[in-house]
């Protein structure tokens, strides 16, 4: 599997991975999260564990078990950490701890490095036996509900280190706090190269014509993704350039508003034959890949965003991306170089027109975007960072480590 990244990932990353693999040979690396399938964390772990093992590290992935009550509580914790006002009572925290305690009895926590993903299994730290314990937070913690964040911090402070996705998500909790961006896997179904036949298959399935440039946004039907703003921008563009809009998203089972938003979008689109609203079933990775590869311009017009990896996905396919200047999007789009950062519907419309009218500029930006993703947002870089952090914790106090 590791060999598949040769010629794709930066040489230095692959080399460093092999060297760290030698340094950490036969050492054990345990990952714990709360779901085996669904969501970005599970998706990356499925790919990461075999690569780590191939590098000579004894990597193991365990999933904590909980009942619906537990996940109800952790959903509240999750929402509160993202800024929603939620009441997480002492009893709920006690239950959260109790479920963690039960899992600690079932799961072997013996390892040289233990990476705990997100708040659900965070209390496992209370059952630490040995090794370096690292808490990996994938959540936007820039504006958390203070009481919930403080309670969780009691656990976090007992870890050897924490990892956040963006600098502004880091908290001042008195332990080493590292910043590691999420990543995409270039050889996964969502990002691998496709044949023309495979692309045709998707377009035939959805009956989308390919005779005009396609403007695409891939996202859940969520108001924070501003689908109505995208349609408004498209209507402005249509006055000048003949094009097609595709809004594609999967239904999110954890989002009760999803259906309402989808209906609003359909109503607003008003049966416009040039607007295609696709509600994709789960595991539509190949279709998303085909749509991204065929689009002339990709939008991520979010008003609020965690990291927004769909931006990197599109950039990896050589597309210029127009994105809202929120969350992790400005870390991915270099304004004017790999795409445009926008702050309004008008901005989105103007930048779409610019790209449609300047295919050369569009291609140039797309190429730069792909190289930017190659250097910064591929899975091999993320694994490199995890191993580097583990290794640095074993060389504590050193700012420069020579291998």
């Amino acid at each position: 599997m590791f060999d598949q990244y040769l010629g794709i990932s930066p040489k230095g990353d692959l080399l460093l991975l092999q060297m760290l693999g030698e340094k950490l040979n036969k050492r054990s690396f345990l990952h714990i999260n709360s779901t085996r399938e669904g969501g970005g964390v599970a998706e990356i772990l499925q790919r990461m564990i075999p690569i780590l093992n191939e590098l000579g590290i004894e990597a193991r992935w365990e999933v904590i078990e909980g009942d619906p009550n537990f996940f109800e509580i952790t959903k509240k914790i999750h929402n509160a950490l993202q800024g929603n006002p939620e009441d997480v009572t002492e009893d709920m925290w006690q239950y959260h701890f109790e479920v963690n305690r039960r899992n600690a009895e079932k799961i072997s926590l013996e390892a040289d490095a233990i990476l705990i993903h997100d708040p659900q299994p965070a209390a496992l730290i209370e059952f630490k036996k040995n090794g370096s314990w690292i808490w990996r937070c994938h959540i936007d913690l820039s504006n958390p509900h203070q009481k919930v964040s403080d309670y969780l911090c009691r656990y976090c402070q007992r870890y050897d280190a924490a990892i956040f996705s963006v600098s502004k998500f880091a908290r001042s909790i008195g332990i080493d706090e590292f910043i590691v961006s999420p990543s995409i896997d270039p050889i996964s179904e969502k990002n691998r190269a496709l044949t023309e036949d495979e692309i045709d298959e998707t377009f035939n399935k959805f009956q989308i014509p390919r005779d005009r440039p396609i403007i695409l946004q891939v996202s859940r039907f969520d108001r924070f993704k501003d689908p109505l703003g995208v349609i408004k921008a498209f209507r402005t563009v249509k006055k000048y350039n003949d094009c097609i809009l595709v809004l594609a998203g999967s239904p999110a089972t954890d989002d009760p508003e999803g259906e309402a938003v989808l209906n609003e979008v359909k109503e607003y689109a008003a049966n416009d034959p040039d607007i295609f609203i696709l509600l994709l079933p789960p595991f539509s990775d190949k279709d998303i890949n085909a749509l991204q590869r065929t689009a002339a311009v990709v939008l991520q017009k979010s008003l609020k965003e965690g990291f927004g990896l769909t931006v990197s996905e599109a950039m990896w396919k050589g597309k210029p991306v127009i994105g809202g200047a929120v969350g992790g999007i400005p870390l991915q789009i270099m304004h004017g170089v790999t795409g445009f950062l926008i702050h309004s519907v008008e901005g989105a419309a103007f930048r779409i027109r610019q790209l449609l009218n300047n295919p050369e500029m569009s291609n140039r930006m797309g190429e730069k975007g792909r190289e930017f993703v190659r250097k910064n947002f591929l899975i091999t870089r993320q694994i490199r960072d995890y191993l580097s952090i583990w290794y640095s914790l074993e060389n504590k106090g050193k700012n420069v480590i020579e291998l």
Partner: protein, 228 residues
């Protein structure tokens, strides 16, 4: 007996970012923190700016924040004009940054605050240095290697070396001068302004300079052969 040539061994560095947990929402807070934050943090936001592959609108993170988040373009210009390689140590650089901001605040005492989420986040790094497995013994091999290595390797030998070795000299020109006594080529490489290019730009200038030298050497050989 053949002369023993000291080979050039290519290395590379990679940094992992570490948060200090400190942030500033306006210029007075920024200078207060700059005054006390670790040397590693100042180093990261100035010297390591070029490792991040930015577009070259600014030359350090402080300037970039002033220009983009505070929209204080004049201050961004002043800060971009600071050459970190002019300073003997981090503290002198730290004082210069504070002086430039203080001077600006005398003229514009109430600049805007950053909107929430756009604050300046103070980070530092842990740097890992590793050999990339390439050793070269002559300029032609060097030329091939420069084309091949990652940007992290060019950064290590061109930027990081100036601090590591002191004296503001990069590894490449030092090797070329020490081993081949090609002073003119070494000077040409030293004349590449590190603040005015991104790493790919530095790579292009290096290639151009070394390629010209290799071509000249080949022409000399060619002339010698013709005269035989």
């Amino acid at each position: 007996m053949a002369e023993i040539i000291e080979p050039f061994e290519f290395k590379q560095c990679t940094s992992i970012i570490k948060s200090t947990g400190k942030k500033a929402k306006d210029l007075p807070e920024l200078t207060d923190i700059i005054a006390v934050i670790s040397d590693e943090c100042i180093f990261h936001h100035t010297y390591q700016y070029f490792l991040k592959g930015h577009i070259l609108e600014y030359t350090n993170d402080f300037a970039q924040w002033a220009g983009e988040s505070l929209e204080e373009s004049a201050l961004a210009e002043h800060l971009s004009n600071i050459d970190p390689y002019e300073f003997r140590n981090i503290n002198d650089l730290r004082e210069k940054i504070i002086a430039v901001i203080d001077e600006y605040l005398k003229i514009f005492p109430e600049p805007r605050k950053a909107i929430p989420g756009e604050e300046f986040y103070f980070n530092e790094t842990v740097t890992l240095i590793f050999p990339v497995g390439i050793r070269v013994k002559n300029l032609a091999e060097f030329l091939t290697a420069i084309k091949f290595v990652d940007t992290g390797s060019v950064y290590y030998h061109f930027y990081e070396a100036r601090i590591r070795l002191g004296g503001g000299v990069d590894d490449f020109s030092r090797w070329i001068e020490d081993v081949f006594e090609k002073k003119e080529l070494a000077e040409k490489i030293r004349a590449i302004d590190p603040l005015m290019h991104n790493i790919e730009g530095i790579r292009e200038h290096l290639l151009e300079a070394v390629e010209e030298e290799v071509r000249k050497d080949m022409e000399v050989i060619d002339r010698c052969l013709t005269s035989i």
